[in-house]
Symmetry: C2
Subunit: 187 residues, 2 copies
């Protein structure tokens, strides 16, 4: 694959906040997203990620009505035909000891890497996604029978974007503002 195509794909991805409610996502496409996620690297190759793929209307409605945090309304989410709960199964020594020594929660980085593999694979198949962090973890856990040892770290909405919904790109900092040569540079 050409770098040009990859950067174009990354640049065309948007946080999609408008879905075609009645257009289900084909299982084969979801499987490709899962395959992309599966191939992600992780600290010590522990692959702590787990997904619960929710496509039944009753559970989707409950996520929207009962599991979101207040203050950031997401009315568009009710139209998403699929919501994925991105989880971390942290029942590994790696995840308990290493952060104490280094102070870094590698497993959250792992979740970001893996989730973005999923998101990019969705984009490559004409699907829209949105990373959603503003939810009540306890309620999601209860709704989806997720055991207490497992963290739910993000929801990812998935579906076909409404026409025109992807028009506006968020602004970005310039390369000079984010990347420094040799040493840190305070701007």
């Amino acid at each position: 694959m050409e770098i040009h195509d990859l950067v174009k794909l990354m640049g065309s991805r948007r946080s999609c906040r408008s879905y075609l409610r009645n257009m289900q996502v084909e299982k084969s496409k979801i499987d490709e997203c899962i395959e992309a996620l599966r191939l992600a690297p992780s600290a010590c190759n522990r692959q702590p990620w787990r997904l619960v793929v929710v496509s039944d209307r009753s559970s989707l409605d409950k996520i929207c009505s009962e599991c979101l945090l207040p203050g950031l309304p997401m009315p568009w989410l009710k139209d998403a035909p699929t919501i994925v709960a991105l989880c971390l199964d942290l029942d590994f020594v790696t995840h308990k000891i290493a952060p104490i020594i280094s102070g870094l929660q590698y497993q959250m980085i792992d979740a970001g890497i893996a989730g973005e593999h999923f998101v990019l694979a969705a984009e490559a198949q004409g699907l829209g996604t949105c990373w959603i962090g503003w939810f009540n973890e306890k309620k999601v856990r209860k709704l989806l029978d997720i055991p207490r040892r497992v963290r739910v770290v993000s929801l990812i909405s998935l579906g076909y974007p409404s026409p025109g919904s992807n028009a506006n790109a968020s602004s970005r900092l310039s390369p000079k503002e984010i990347a420094f040569q040799h040493k840190w540079k305070d701007l």
Copy 2:
């Protein structure tokens, strides 16, 4: 871009632990990696990521000799012609308040997403990378003049892989082990 090509790219990426020491990475290629990272999504579009791109031999040697944690020798790192310090500038209210409410450090997910954009862009250009979490953050910060408000969350080595170094793939869990339909499934 075709999904097939993307999944193939993700599947061909390895944690590269053998580099051609004397083959510098072209600036144009590093710029493409930075561009890919720049396009990543982040919580509230805060783009907390910052990079310090280290390519001078003296600093590279110091990272290898002074900044790694004990117990996990990385002799191969001394041959990497570039090491990138992936940082988070957390001087934003978003990063201080939101985690208290939700219990989730979104910014670490942001770092994973952005770093993996960089890594995939490197792979698409024939470059090898390795996520490195096992380092002494304080020493890296001091060496690269990184202010105290900034977290260094990962190092990423970058360079041309030695021939044959990418032969072995790490094993992965099967799709059924990581993705569940509708509800969690204890295996």
